[in-house]
Symmetry: C2
Subunit: 198 residues, 2 copies
Amino acid sequence: MNDSALTPERILDAAEEVLRRYGLAKATVVDVARFLEVSHGTIYRHFPSKAALRDAVAERWLHRVSTPLAAIAEEQGSAIERLHRWFEQLMTLKRQKVLNEPELFATYSAIAQEARGVVQAHIAELVSQVAAIVESGVSSKEFKVTDPQVAAKAVFQAMVRFHHPAHASEWSDPDIDTDFAQVWRLIVAGLVVGELMV
Amino acid sequence: MNDSALTPERILDAAEEVLRRYGLAKATVVDVARFLEVSHGTIYRHFPSKAALRDAVAERWLHRVSTPLAAIAEEQGSAIERLHRWFEQLMTLKRQKVLNEPELFATYSAIAQEARGVVQAHIAELVSQVAAIVESGVSSKEFKVTDPQVAAKAVFQAMVRFHHPAHASEWSDPDIDTDFAQVWRLIVAGLVVGELMV
């Protein structure tokens, strides 16, 4: 490949393909360079270290989750309905990934374990989307919480079974949709009534 | 050791010590027999297979969690206060185990992965304890839920971050007690108000 045609995006495509073929333990920057028919020095001009490339791969993967969710957070209309749809979409996106390509999902989960900073930024982004929906629900008098940011973090954590990769093996359980619905009902009731002095 | 003095309890003590020393991958029934100075045939008279011994070890370990919690479930008094204390105690018990003996905790978590039936029975037992507290809260008019069993399962799942071993690495996070308190506030508000038609 002509070096000047090499964009970060093409390197990330190649890195994903290499990860798909070899897995995280065996994949190297040299494999990515070989796949693109460039020298590994060329890769390093775009990503100064293997860790930088790994983080960029993780970041792009996580954006594929956060971008469609951001669209829901920015919509108008009932906050309750949007928050429900937001969590359903989050679970659907994760579940599709694990069911369609279980090995790639495992690889990306392993990458995420190493790219802690990227994952923390991703979670902060998701919680801020939830906070935006909760805040609009407070404005529309659907929700009665004093601190939307705090409530958003609590909701996100209470739904953890339905989005955290550590629970991926539970997502093929036939009861999972019922479980999701029941936890959701409990949580939305909590948001509607707000904090109680108990 | 005199074979007739060999109780299942002593075998389980020995098995736990062997697991502590060698870990799950290396520990064998022969190691347990050697530790007790009996033949491995003697062990098999009490536990017909390695899987049976493994399940009994897992069961006893999980009873150390469920037994003190059962006491809280059976107490009188405010359901809200007891339910809060029940989940605090669950988190405290798990956290102590992981902080005091991280390797043994990892070993037991690995055993639990294999002893699925034992773990399922344990979870069913814990959910039924939560259901008993929720039911008493419905009687005392503290909670307004139509099906305490369904609500109990939802509450247990919404609190999963604070008791499932997959989240053990998060339990040393300095924010974990605040997170627990915020998720709890959301959930208890949901139980107090009951299911909403939303």
